[in-house]
Symmetry: D2
Subunit: 366 residues, 4 copies
Amino acid sequence: MSGSVIGKHFTVSTWGESHGAALGVVIDGCPAGLSLCEADIQPYMDRRKPGQSDYTTKRREADDIRILSGVFEGKTTGTPISLILYNEDHRSADYSVLADAYRPGHADLAYDQKYGFRDYRGGGRSSGRETAARVASGAVAGKLLKEFGISCRAYTRSIGPVSITSYDEEERLKNSLYMPDASACEKAEAYLKEVMAKKDSAGGVIECVISGCPKGLGEPVFDKLSADLAKAVCSIGAVKGFEIGDGFASADTLGSKNNDPLFFKEGGIHTASNHAGGIYGGIANGADILFRAAIKPTPSISQTQDTVTRDGKPIKLEIPGRHDPVIVPRAVVVVESMACLVIADHLIGNMSSRLEGMLAFYHCQP
Amino acid sequence: MSGSVIGKHFTVSTWGESHGAALGVVIDGCPAGLSLCEADIQPYMDRRKPGQSDYTTKRREADDIRILSGVFEGKTTGTPISLILYNEDHRSADYSVLADAYRPGHADLAYDQKYGFRDYRGGGRSSGRETAARVASGAVAGKLLKEFGISCRAYTRSIGPVSITSYDEEERLKNSLYMPDASACEKAEAYLKEVMAKKDSAGGVIECVISGCPKGLGEPVFDKLSADLAKAVCSIGAVKGFEIGDGFASADTLGSKNNDPLFFKEGGIHTASNHAGGIYGGIANGADILFRAAIKPTPSISQTQDTVTRDGKPIKLEIPGRHDPVIVPRAVVVVESMACLVIADHLIGNMSSRLEGMLAFYHCQP
Amino acid sequence: MSGSVIGKHFTVSTWGESHGAALGVVIDGCPAGLSLCEADIQPYMDRRKPGQSDYTTKRREADDIRILSGVFEGKTTGTPISLILYNEDHRSADYSVLADAYRPGHADLAYDQKYGFRDYRGGGRSSGRETAARVASGAVAGKLLKEFGISCRAYTRSIGPVSITSYDEEERLKNSLYMPDASACEKAEAYLKEVMAKKDSAGGVIECVISGCPKGLGEPVFDKLSADLAKAVCSIGAVKGFEIGDGFASADTLGSKNNDPLFFKEGGIHTASNHAGGIYGGIANGADILFRAAIKPTPSISQTQDTVTRDGKPIKLEIPGRHDPVIVPRAVVVVESMACLVIADHLIGNMSSRLEGMLAFYHCQP
Amino acid sequence: MSGSVIGKHFTVSTWGESHGAALGVVIDGCPAGLSLCEADIQPYMDRRKPGQSDYTTKRREADDIRILSGVFEGKTTGTPISLILYNEDHRSADYSVLADAYRPGHADLAYDQKYGFRDYRGGGRSSGRETAARVASGAVAGKLLKEFGISCRAYTRSIGPVSITSYDEEERLKNSLYMPDASACEKAEAYLKEVMAKKDSAGGVIECVISGCPKGLGEPVFDKLSADLAKAVCSIGAVKGFEIGDGFASADTLGSKNNDPLFFKEGGIHTASNHAGGIYGGIANGADILFRAAIKPTPSISQTQDTVTRDGKPIKLEIPGRHDPVIVPRAVVVVESMACLVIADHLIGNMSSRLEGMLAFYHCQP
């Protein structure tokens, strides 16, 4: 079954394996007239790229994005935008041990169970490299959102036990762990060094804030904005949990504390607090949207692990290559990209919620 | 925009407001030949019904389900199944105060912002009553899954600070809070009495275990089984968080501990632990699928609350009617229903993952 | 598989069998604020109703439409609109002979082949009665289109060999055959009397003109406006052909004659002829959209026919009940309804084709 | 809005402009385990390629297909298959006159009206070159269908007034016009020479026969097999009409003649004639499926034509480059490809029509 297409209006179709010739994405439904060139997308790719610090894998990946269609004279034409990343020539031989062995914590076994066999080179389609196509399309969605004054900002909230305790926007995209709190970053780096010394790996939590989102986005009752964010974020391989606003904490509070009081100011009604995370009944209410994603520790570790081969024989496995001790920093831009895709999709979907809005739209057309 | 349709294959379209003439659901894509009658569905409806205990609202709702189409001589025909619940004659006047006032913690304001006005009677479409249609269709999906030996069992894991510490299947559907731990239930009831005395409300966590799910369900990379569960569960109004397997706890552990070791037994490969919650790379691996949903405290409380009218004027609001001090017990069957819908959808979707499976299917057709 | 849902934005889900308790439709995606009541829909239902003339079946059907949700104080709320038609109590016994026999020209055999069995009463889901739900939703779409100055007008172009030779709008909805040419109608009636005398049935061609459609509707390359009209119209059971503009005649002309010349007038560019039928490259160009549907003769005839039973035994079949000698007049409003659904869907879809249009829309929101 | 994605299960997303860097298609939902390499696809591409005869344009196009993903060690992996065609370096300057002028019979004006501007080089996205991506994916679908013994065979039925009068399978793919009747081909060539001498162009009719299609394919009531074929075929730019079985001829016959009588032979029930074209009630009944598409004359002709510029100024336009005097022969494989895509999609969709089929499927899984 088709499963690599997401979005009803701003529709994204990704393809590609870790060690194939290339990977990419087709965006169908981007409005015409948006300025777009490779330089708009590349910075997003670079945030995901390995080798940025001591805490990401030393592997080199060719992440030079190319636009193959849908842009003419610097502007989107309204037709499908095809983006491609060519893979460098990999020495696939390195991965031959994985043809037979199932890596614990990976999808190797699941792919074999579903499809009968798999492209085992670097994880094939289940590789984290798949997320590069998400980021490429997320960058286009982000460019679109900017035109409407909407920003999505994701960052590392915690690495293992180390959480941020303050928020510094300047720090957010600067340090090696994309933590908007320099002091927490320092502690997290110390923690990661310990983990790496044990040939182990760590997880963490990514948080994302969406500002400037128009009121009204989100479609009850199933395509709630929160539900579509949950799906988009939980479709990232390493994500094990999602929460919006106060999330799991709201399960252990009281209604009188959890309800956001309403008040009137400057021509509009606002919430005095934001326990809900900017969404009520699945509909954005104009406040900042805030959600979090739990990221599991990198499954590839340098320790020898007990596992089995395709035939069920027990073996000791040492996974070849170098591994990210933590996925979180590189996943920050992936989470942000998924948020951009969802908001862009709903920005379009919401345009038909009222007859009067539709009439105004068509009456002012040329 | 359309937002009340869910499922690609087992497609469900719900409709209806709290105080309209009726509410219901159309199921399109249920295979022909499934035995089905109202008595298969009614027990699910009864689990959601108010007035079951001291801890649910005393409101009475007519939840007698009727099948209007798609069943002939006791079996589904493969054509759309229409299910309807007629609403009792409500004294809508009771709700007139809500025509102007926005209830804190509710979607009243958001609906007005999106649509320009709203059916304010009992929350209209944003009422929890909407979930009755989910449960009706979930019961049909659950009946289908039973044929394949698949069961979805949801239960209350915690109410406020009180969590279960053991699991007793017999207790699960027996007590007033749907907690599979009689002693925790007792403590939770005591907690709720305190909350009710303060005219306040509580939240909690619902857990769901899916057993017998065939290996291979789930479609990478976006329609992962976990991602579709996340969306379905987070589309329930009161849900603020979702986690699968170890969820947020996995963010603060080590890779060596989080990876589920593989071993061979009785002709198959299994995981020795289940930190992943039965899904790898978005694909079910045959182990129990386990997820949790965070439910916020009931927003309708008996305390007087500060809020504003549609014109922005501040008022003191006392919400008329009786309220559930906690939504969790009635939401258990809603969560379970959404799980059933997702698994039924993927059960169908997975049938085309391999050419050899498709060939075998068509070669044995009459 | 789900197959009774149509429309990406103005999404329609129909259900119901000929002799079930009721049949109906759920419309999801209709914008809020449209005035709507049963009286807006009923006239459409009446155009489809049997028993209107000597040339339609004498069967009586209860086609009193009811709105069950999605409308509050006379206006659509933006949430799903559920429409229902209760079936009268049928003497199902009349149809018992059809439990075993396959009627030639009907879908009886095909349903058994696909689903293993079928609701044989009056054709079940494959009955022409299914189209009542299309008409009910088409009426809502038509009401929406009227707000934008768009009209869809279908009519009988020919019955058997008798075609219209002139167009009189007043006549269109007046005569027994919905032919906009009184003299052709007279000839067609004479032809039908002959056909009826032979216990036989006739077919014909329905034409539809859509005026006032905004330029730009239609989404290349697959969701062309013409392609979606083709699908919607060909999904009507009795339709065997579809053509747009000059249709099949354009296959035997020359490019120099078939191209519509362009000229400038009153601030816009227009086509001097309309061989294309108002759509170029799948996109409406502002001219009238014109298409035709070929309708086969009613398969139920009063002659005794040779056929087989479910076991393959040859039998002589006399189909019980009274039959339409021609379906065309009653199908006119069905074709028109499908056109309304497609245009409403694309009216919404087209709103995001340009960035500047989207920006203007959001900048003028309250 | 997204409009370049087709298929619910075997989902195809095309992209690319006539004069962009490349064009291609992503196939999502092809089952794993299908043998596939470029050599399986190339012959389909070659049937569409220009320059094959005197009756196709002399333009050269680089139609060397490349597989970028979804195939590993010669077999499909179940993940998205990305196919790409690089465009040769075009001298775009040739087309500069078209930046301002609207070609009659083309979508130039419609694209400007919808999107505000367009990629005018060679028609951009509205170019016939777009169909190369359809053919590439159709070839993959055709390879899949072959495994099930299903064949789709399209051919030229008529060019202008010249129709085939016999059917010779060997001739079908041999002659310059893809006519399965050598003598008709000769006459059609003579007709085309006349047309070319007048600097004009011709149209024609393409017919397609699908054999070996399993009974049961097609999903009532909207996703009828016939309706989905109608949409797929009418989405090809030059198609102006579609008919199935006897098509428009059935509008002028009698029910007694149009009904296909049923009889029993060799363990199954068959139709003695095939006026319906192999589909009843939208469901394939096992007989050959037969449909036709009307193709308009090539809009680009060598005559000077009257038209207007973007500013509405009248001009005399001579379209640069060489033109196909008739599109029909090159469109044959495009029609066939769309048929393959639809049948592949429904082959998957039909697998869940019966509970017993689904149970058998899952019980025989490893």
